[in-house]
Symmetry: C2
Subunit: 96 residues, 2 copies
DNA sequence: TTGACATGCAAGCCGTGACTTGCCTATCAT
DNA sequence: ATGATAGGCAAGTCACGGCTTGCATGTCAA
């Protein structure tokens, strides 16, 4: 379960995709491709980005919604919360 | 920077190591190896675990301290905080 | 209907990463 | 000093993941 999440995050391009969706939620595949090239200098092909989105969706980080010939991608960062839940900050000791 | 962190987390064995250090901090390499076998059924070799620890240390998730012929491994989960900082929870809208 | 647009599917190439194997170094007890 | 213990280094194997290539499907406008 969490395995899919971490493997999804273990790629720079996918992290940039999450950044892009943070900046503008609900983008289509083509929209994402062009903005990744423009703003981040990522020259990946459409298929590459599509496969990245599949991985992100499997990890629960992206939810999709189809409308006609468009497919919109929405960010869902809630799975990231379980990371800090699994390894919480150490209890603060030496308080003055 | 964050790249090392995510790649470090993208392996089940390494996550289990973090779990083990959460349970008992400051273990040596051999201690970790035996406990990983006992409690988690991980049959990795000593060298494999050692390499995993190197990756975790590079990511800043583990700090080491040498004393004589022992090397103790301490967990540091603070790098995980920047994950939730980079993709914060969406602002709560539809409040009733 | 027909062509353009947006996306999906599948096989293959290739580099990276996890693991092993073999040997070496260093520290402590006897 | 010598053996046992704890760990380090480096080369090699092998599977997986990211990317490409080529074609197929589905939707909308003219």
């Amino acid at each position: 379960m969490a395995d899919l999440l971490f493997k999804a995050m273990a790629d720079g391009t996918r992290c940039t995709i999450l950044d892009e969706l943070t900046d503008r939620d609900g983008q289509t595949l083509f929209e994402l491709c062009s903005r990744l090239v423009m703003k981040h200098g990522i020259g990946a092909s459409r298929q590459a980005i599509s496969q990245h989105l599949d991985v992100l969706e499997e990890a629960g980080l992206v939810r999709t919604e189809r409308s006609g010939r468009y497919k919109f991608h929405y960010l869902d960062t809630s799975p990231l919360r379980e990371i800090t839940a699994r390894w919480p900050p150490p209890p603060e000791r030496d308080k003055p």
